[in-house]
């Protein structure tokens, strides 16, 4: 390989196309976004430099507080539900015969492959107050006034979180299942020899060895929650007001509906900082569990 490496300029040809596009489409726009976030801008005329005013306005805006609260709630719910449910089901699938494993894997993973937009449309139909199946079931069970899932400001957030959690559980099942499949079989055999039952095997073997993967899933879940857009926007446009908005939706509405490109950039920078920070934090935290 040294022969190739010696002519280092020849090697560069390989990385230049990707690097150039990466610089133009990712690195430079991030720099631009940081600059725009410090300006007042309608997107067309020259931006007016404002310093940190956008950020101050943003953090003192009560709507922003609601959006952050929504994002936090969705993240916490996702973190509580997705890894636990996924772990249990991954373990159950793991203990099936191989062919069954493949079948269940496909079935469970299917919603994650489909466009978020179609899942959102689907749930819009399911949650429809008049003829959606959910309310139909409720009325047939005797419930008098089934809730307005998509227009009641108090529950609309949870109506939007539901498809988010639903769609991607299968994703984490597959990740955890792959992790379990890389475990050597002798662990289970020696556990059996020691007389362990299923529950013990789960808690004492599966959970510790998969700890790293579980942490990784949590990183992905948090990252996903920061960027969440489609479900909220397509089902309720983030409304009513900002009742079901997440950061991504709030950014879109501020920028393209409100015409405030500077503020929108500031919000997007906040999204980026949060996503990156949590990724780094969790990876560091996860190292403590390595054994």
């Amino acid at each position: 390989m040294d022969y190739l490496r010696k002519k280092w300029y020849r090697s560069l040809i390989f990385v230049i196309p990707a690097l150039v596009i990466y610089l133009i489409m990712v690195i430079i726009p991030i720099g631009q976004a940081i600059y725009y976030s410090l300006c007042d801008w309608n997107g067309i005329s020259t931006p007016t430099f404002l310093g940190f005013e956008n950020y101050i306005t943003m953090f003192t805006n009560p709507d922003f507080g609601t959006v952050i609260k929504n994002t936090v709630i969705s993240t916490i719910l996702a973190l509580l539900i997705q890894p636990t449910v996924a772990l249990v089901f991954a373990f159950m699938i793991y203990r099936c015969a191989e062919k069954a494993q493949k079948v269940y894997r496909v079935l469970v993973f299917l919603p994650a492959v489909v466009a978020a937009a179609s899942i959102s449309l689907m749930f819009t139909l399911l949650f429809n107050s008049e003829i959606g199946p959910v309310n139909q079931i409720l009325t047939s069970l005797g419930v008098q006034n089934p809730p307005n899932w998509l227009s009641d400001a108090k529950i609309v957030l949870y109506s939007v979180i539901t498809p988010m959690i639903y769609q991607f559980i299968g994703y984490y099942v597959v990740i955890l299942l792959a992790g379990m499949q890389s475990l050597p079989e002798d662990i289970f055999e020696s556990a059996a020899l020691d007389g362990a039952n299923v529950v013990q095997v789960f808690w004492k073997i599966v959970v510790p060895t998969q700890a790293e993967t579980i942490i990784m899933c949590c990183v992905l879940i948090i990252g996903g929650a920061m960027k969440a857009f489609e479900h909220s926007y397509i089902m309720t446009w983030g409304g009513p007001g900002v009742a079901s908005s997440f950061l991504g939706v709030y950014m879109y509405n501020t920028t393209f509906q409100g015409g405030k490109f500077g503020m929108g950039s500031a919000i997007s920078i906040v999204i980026m900082v949060l996503a990156v920070t949590f990724a780094i934090l969790l990876k560091k935290f996860g190292r403590k569990f390595e054994y």
């Binding site: 490496r5 493949k102 937009a117 399911l126 003829i131 299923v198 997007s268």
Partner: protein
């Protein structure tokens, strides 16, 4: 059998096994219920839906599907989605196999690799505003090239990440023997390295295709021109016009979901490998 716990009695094991399959089957049904419901509803007219949303269509009404094809301008929008996804895949495969090769074989440090990987942590929203406004200024908004460039930019980090891993698995000896036989490094790359990295290429290709096909936000902002609309976008807009025709809306969902489902079933292994790479240790 993997994971077999041998310490319980055979009868308990049988009961446990049955219970396990029952629970998993119920779970699968719950997971698939919304999808199945939408498929069923797509074949009903509004009358049937109101009467009993859960019955099988009787009779099956195929007109929803045919109407939907027209309503979303299927020929055009399907083609657009296909063009965007396929072009992005081709470009990404070419340039990230090269960058992966560079990071894996042609350079000693990890600096370039780490730099390119950073993109994986960046949310699309952050680069969206600057790119959108730049595009508008230079007249690239609502152009195919503009969108494809955006999609490519969004996938470079991931492609490099996966393919560097695969390229590392190509033994140096293969490449060196090619060079000794007189191939230039570029020839060596294309005729020797690429065939050995095929699984990696399939993984990246499938993953990038699905991501681009399923994209909503980017197309929503940068493809407002009717000529450029993707299938995803068109299905979303059905709601505006046909908000009370649930059969039609369901048919729209069906049309949007089916290609992705087919691709997934065919390319299962690649999709799953792409999505678990880096998330699983060991």
């Amino acid at each position: 059998m993997k994971g077999q716990i041998k310490s319980t009695s055979p009868a308990m094991q049988k009961a446990g096994t049955i219970a396990k399959y029952v629970v998993l089957s119920i779970w699968s049904i719950i997971t698939l219920f919304p999808v199945v419901w939408v498929f069923m509803t797509a074949f009903k007219d509004n009358g049937q839906i109101f009467v009993n949303p859960f019955a099988l269509p009787n009779p099956a009404v195929p007109s929803n599907l045919t109407e939907v094809f027209k309503a979303v301008n299927f020929g055009n929008t399907f083609l657009n989605s296909l063009i965007f996804s396929a072009s992005t895949v081709v470009i990404i495969l070419v340039i990230t196999s090269m960058s992966g090769y560079y990071c894996a074989k042609l350079t000693r440090g990890m600096k370039m690799y780490s730099f390119l990987i950073l993109g994986m942590m960046m949310p699309a929203q952050t680069i969206l505003i600057p790119i959108f406004t730049t595009y508008v200024k230079v007249g690239m908004n609502n152009t195919r090239i503009g969108l494809i460039l955006m999609y490519v930019g969004m996938n470079i980090a991931f492609g490099t990440f996966i393919l560097t891993g695969f390229m590392k698995g190509v033994p140096d000896a293969v490449i060196e023997s090619g060079v000794i036989d007189g191939a230039s490094s570029l020839r060596a790359f294309f005729s020797l390295v690429i065939p050995m990295a095929k699984p990696g290429l399939a993984t990246v290709g499938t993953f990038v295709f699905l991501n681009t096909w399923n994209d909503f936000l980017v197309a929503f902002i940068m493809a407002t021109d009717v000529k450029l609309q993707t299938l995803n976008l068109a299905c979303y807009q059905l709601r505006g016009v046909y908000s009370s025709d649930y059969g039609l809306l369901s048919a729209g969902c069906v049309v949007l979901m089916t290609p992705a489902i087919i691709i997934f079933i065919v390319f299962q292994e690649q999709v799953i490998k792409g999505l678990t790479a880096g998330a699983v240790k060991g």
